[in-house]
């Protein structure tokens, strides 16, 4: 008798469609769908996927609470012993959705859960405390090892086996502290670590300092009527033809374009380069992502003094955190140099 597992996947891995189907409503199916087959194989009969729940990435992101509840209901009907979600690799909405599903299942059904994500997936930061998330590569090319890692973590939980450290077991650090007994007391270990440090020998910290990426909020703009406001977007709006070839995913650079004389971001002159959402609506009316028309209207009405003449754009889809930081720093430097007082950043 093998354990009953329910698998959660998105519309893409279910073979339903790409971005144009990202609004797909939750659906339950018997047995395996898509990568569930590989997961089943990895679980070698000890556990079996008895049902699959599918949901579109955008539908879930835009209906977090109701979609979670609806999907929980569908999962319950299968009477599962465990739930597995993804692997989502570096897909942001998929990671967020699968993490949310695992969290609500763990909380409401108290059964083992497992996910699979690339460490930079936003779903990791949001849900790593709620579920074991196997560390995967950033794309579906890494499906093989991802599925293996997830299966092992799930089976260990189902069999009540002890799960070791993140390094040992291949999951992403959860930020949970576990008490262990060691041979030497803290004072001795600290002294030894200091001695190594002084001698220039390698040492390993017992507690990596947490990196909180937070900034102190800026003071508000007190004199909006005299302010210069700029637009920056991660939604990938570029001049028609994408002259600087900003990539649809994993952007390696950002674009800087003049808005001199431009009253609206229209279909004739602009498009989106972003490969991570259905581009139909943004291509038809680029103002829907980069609100040039309204900024011009408000500028004319004197709500603020000036709509900055340059906009900055990149594609946020799968962009590495390191690159995003680099782009942001450079863009801010230029905005400050040009006397901009505040920025509206739009994201899809």
């Amino acid at each position: 008798m093998s354990y009953r597992v329910v698998h959660y996947i998105n519309q893409f891995f279910a073979g339903i469609g790409g971005e144009e189907k990202a609004d797909y409503r939750p659906e339950a199916r018997e047995g395996v769908v898509g990568p569930g087959m590989a997961l089943n194989a990895a679980m070698k009969g000890e556990a079996e996927i008895v049902g699959t729940v599918i949901c579109g990435d955008s539908y879930f992101a835009e209906n977090l609470a109701s979609a979670s509840a609806e999907i929980l209901g569908m999962i319950k009907k299968f009477n599962p012993d465990a739930v597995i979600a993804g692997p989502a690799f570096n897909a942001g909405r998929y990671g967020t959705a699968s993490g949310a599903v695992l969290e609500i299942v763990a909380k409401e059904l108290s059964i083992p859960v497992v996910g699979g994500m690339y460490p930079e997936n936003p779903g990791v930061e949001l849900y790593r405390k709620s579920a074991y998330i196997a560390k995967t590569s950033d794309s579906a090319r890494g499906m093989g090892p991802a599925v293996q890692g997830m299966a092992v973590l799930l089976l260990k939980q189902l069999n009540g086996e002890k799960i070791g450290s993140p390094d040992e077991e291949g999951y992403i650090e959860r930020g949970l502290r576990v008490n262990v007994f060691l041979d030497k007391v803290g004072g001795e270990r600290a002294a030894e670590m200091l001695a190594k440090k002084l001698r220039g020998e390698p040492y390993k910290t017992e507690y990596p300092m947490p990196v909180f990426d937070r900034v102190v909020p800026n003071p508000p703009i007190r004199d909006m009527k005299n302010a210069v406001i700029a637009l920056v977007t991660s939604g990938g709006i570029v001049p028609k033809g994408n002259p600087d070839h900003i990539e649809a995913s994993s952007a390696s650079h950002y674009g800087e374009y003049s808005l001199a004389g431009v009253m609206t971001a229209d279909e004739a002159n602009y498009e989106t380069a972003h490969g991570g959402y259905d581009p139909t609506y943004a291509n038809k009316i680029p103002n829907r992502v980069l609100p040039v028309d309204v900024m011009r209207l408000l500028e004319k009405e004197g709500v603020f003094k000036k709509f900055h003449e340059t906009f900055y754009t990149t594609v946020g889809n799968g962009t590495s955190v390191a690159n995003a930081k680099k782009f942001g720093t450079e863009i801010v430097g230029k905005l400050k140099r040009d006397g901009v007082d505040a920025v509206i950043v739009t994201s899809t």
């Binding site: 955008s58 909405r93 967020t96 943004a282 028309d293 739009t346």
Partner: protein, 66 residues
């Protein structure tokens, strides 16, 4: 800086301090189910909300809902 975006939890995670929830992922400042004129009004409201957020003092991450 104010972040007009659809997936608010992600914006909170990456540390934006002023956040304005947008309409939907493929059209954060628009709504294809409405007429173009109605969309401009929706867009106006959102941008004005964003400007209001820029003019509001905050001491921690703040999501500006209605």
């Amino acid at each position: 800086m104010v972040h007009v975006c659809t997936i608010v939890p992600i914006s909170l995670t990456v540390g934006a301090n002023r956040i304005v929830p947008a309409v939907a992922i493929p059209h954060p400042l628009g709504d294809p189910s409405r007429t173009p004129e109605e969309e401009v009004q929706i867009r106006r409201k959102l941008v004005l909300k964003a400007l209001k957020a820029l003019g509001t003092e905050v001491h921690e991450q703040t999501v500006f809902t209605d």
